[in-house]
């Protein structure tokens, strides 16, 4: 097996607020293979976006990496100096944010923003800059005339595609996306996802895709991480997870999404609300809402237990468990 592209080991991110230090991401570990499509799912506030920024070294105060290693192509990103990090940015990995309207500078044209990026890393002539810019726009299916347009002049879907185009300027090996489809309608969503998948086949980059939308994840990702309250609840290959969800939380998430083609059944939500991370629940963080809660869940913190190819943070699968699921 080839060396993983990205290895996150025990990453924790804290917010240093006036009231207390909040651990938003708690000892998260995962790997990403070259060309793999990894989905990270969870409710709002579970820490998935924070995880993303922690991995890509884009945290702003009061957020800080508290501990852990993030190894990308063999180098620990957390320990890199600012200059070295800058060199690696965008060439090796790019970030696509949630709302392109907010992620694109409203006062600069698309072309100008592409040019900035190109010039920051390579010495290119004006012609080269234009060629590359046109090239990436073609990749995502945007008419090159829009190099002169400003973000507010493009439709939502186009903006998002422009962001992806910008991410591909250096054909990086990893593209990290933070809910890029949330702001789009279903049709635009589908079109964007298909495009992303296409590009992935053609250019061969890996994708980390953070979302709250299980349906997107089910269709497009190779593997899935389910996050809850700052921790990984379950990690498995997509088909396996959807066929046999292990963690009660994952099961709850599946039940909350109707299938258009499947049989009709009652929709069930997950009772309660995500915990306050200032004072998380004792033991297993999900236990107050868990339909399969056991007495020991309130006192014992579960580890990530291996179940076949997957990993589950649930005492049901702990050393003392007799069966899985």
């Amino acid at each position: 097996m080839a060396e993983p592209l990205l290895e996150v080991i025990g990453l924790s991110v804290d917010y240093l607020t006036d009231a207390a230090d909040v651990r938003a991401v708690d000892r998260v570990s995962f790997t990403v293979e070259p060309g793999e499509f990894l989905g990270i799912v969870g409710e709002s506030g579970c820490g998935k976006s924070t995880l993303l920024f922690g991995v890509t070294q884009l945290l702003s105060p009061p957020g800080e990496v508290a501990e852990g290693k993030v190894t990308f192509r063999g180098r620990d990103m957390v320990r890199l100096s600012r200059g070295e990090l800058r060199h690696v940015r965008w060439r090796d990995f790019a970030v696509v944010m949630q709302s392109a309207m907010n992620a694109l500078n409203p006062m600069k044209s698309i072309g100008a923003q592409f040019k900035d990026t190109l010039k920051a890393h390579e010495k290119l002539s004006a012609e080269d800059v234009r060629e590359r810019s046109v090239g990436v726009l073609n990749l995502v299916g945007i008419d090159p005339v829009h190099l002169a347009s400003y973000p507010h002049q493009l439709s939502g879907g186009m903006r998002q595609r422009a962001m992806i185009a910008m991410a591909l300027l250096f054909t990086p090996q990893l593209v990290v996306m933070d809910e890029p489809t949330s702001a789009l309608d279903v049709v635009a969503q589908r079109s964007l996802m298909t495009k992303i998948k296409d590009l992935q086949q053609t250019l061969g980059f890996a994708v980390i895709f953070v979302t709250h939308d299980m349906s997107v994840v089910s269709r497009y990702s190779d593997r899935v991480l389910v996050m809850y309250a700052g921790q990984i609840a379950e990690a498995a290959r997509t088909e396996a997870m959807f066929a046999r969800p292990l963690h009660p939380y994952t099961r709850g998430l599946m039940n909350a999404f109707p299938s258009v083609t499947g049989p009709r059944r009652e929709l069930a939500g997950i009772p309660g609300a995500p915990p306050d991370l200032v004072r998380p629940p004792s033991g297993c963080r999900f236990h107050p809402r868990c339909p399969e809660v056991m007495p020991e869940c309130a006192s014992r913190e579960p580890e990530l237990y291996p179940v076949g190819d997957a990993e589950v943070r649930c005492l049901l699968y702990g050393e003392h468990a007799t069966e899985a699921g």
Binding site: F53, T56, L58, S60, P61, R82, L85, R86, H87, V88, R89, W90, R91, A94, V95, M97, Q98, S99, N102, A103, L104, N105, P106, M107, S109, D116, T117, A120, H121, Y150, H152, Q153, M166
Partner: protein
């Protein structure tokens, strides 16, 4: 374009409002101030006197609306009446204008530049020493009334140390010319008043620029710029600062009124014979026509600056061009 049309309309409305204020105040205020003042005018150009009577409603026995329209007509044709000495108000104003223009023009620009720079740096280095001390310190300084800053400067530099002159705009007895020594003299005299104004305006600017920067830095596009690997300086200036300054521009222009007010006090304090000093002497002389003319002038000055700022915003912010 709609944006500019709207701002242009506001300009006209405010201009009209200022003209109307000048018409309304004498009629609304208790007492017979205006009548008493105009009675002291002698040997005055009759047309000018008549214009004043219309403006102030003295000795006028016509329908108030008729007076109003005649007054507006007078204003639009430049007939603002005369001062107590019989000098046309406009002439008086234009003769003193250059001194104030120089003083206020230069200091507000310097104050704006300093304040903006410091604000940008303070916001960029959150948690650093600069951010902890400078903005609150400068904000407090800007809360100190301008004249006190002036008094302190006078005390330290003019009285105690004797380095700089106490007042006026150039040495009495010197003849104005474009010679280096005269210019040096002028600068000498303008230094303390200018410094007072710079200190106060910079303080105002640091605070709002810093706050704007902090909000802008939190925006996603700044994060994206960092993610793209752009140099720190590039992100700070080209992405954050440039976008943060824009909302400041119009505010900058509107605050000009405050600065002009401060300049009045400073000119009084330093006996600097500009428009501010003129306003002061007009008020002690109860020269109402001159005061009202000056008030109108000040308002128009602020309005023009606001309009210019609006133009600049429209030019620099592509979003307004569509709106």
């Amino acid at each position: 374009m709609k944006y500019l049309a709207r701002r242009g309309a506001l300009f006209l409305v405010t201009f009209w409002a200022a003209l109307t204020v000048n018409f309304v105040i004498p009629r609304v205020m208790p007492g017979n101030e205006a009548q008493a003042v105009l009675a002291t005018f002698r040997n005055v150009n009759p047309a000018a006197l008549h214009a004043l009577e219309i403006e102030f409603g003295v000795n006028v026995h016509q329908n108030i609306l008729i007076s109003y329209f005649e007054y507006l007509k007078n204003c639009l044709t430049g007939q603002f009446g005369v001062t107590a000495q019989g000098v046309p108000v406009m002439t008086e104003i234009t003769s003193k204008l250059p001194w104030t223009l120089g003083l206020v023009g230069v200091t507000t620009i310097i104050g704006f530049v300093i304040g903006t720079f410091v604000g940008i740096l303070a916001a960029w280095r959150r948690g650093g020493r600069l951010d902890a001390i400078l903005p609150p310190a400068l904000f407090i300084v800007s809360a100190i009334p301008v004249f006190f800053v002036g008094l302190l400067l006078i005390y330290f530099f003019a009285v105690k140390l004797g380095w700089l002159p106490l007042g006026s705009n150039y040495n009495l007895g010197a003849t104005p010319s474009l010679s280096l020594s005269f210019i040096g003299d002028v600068l000498d005299h303008a230094l303390l008043p200018g410094l007072s104004l710079v200190i106060v305006t910079a303080g105002l600017w640091v605070y709002s620029m810093r706050n704007n920067m902090i909000t802008t830095i939190a925006e996603d596009y700044v994060k994206t710029a960092r993610a793209k690997g752009l140099s720190n300086r590039r992100v700070m200036f080209d992405y954050a600062a440039r976008n943060a300054i824009l909302p400041n521009l119009t505010g900058f222009a509107m605050q000009l009124g405050y600065v002009l007010g401060g300049a009045i006090v400073i000119e009084y304090l330093f006996s600097y014979p500009g428009l501010g000093y003129l306003f002061y002497t007009a008020s002690t002389d109860h020269d109402l026509p001159l005061m009202q003319g000056l008030f109108l002038f000040y308002t128009v000055a602020v309005l023009v600056c606001v309009l210019l700022a609006d133009f600049a915003t429209a030019l620099l912010d592509p979003r307004t061009r569509e709106a």
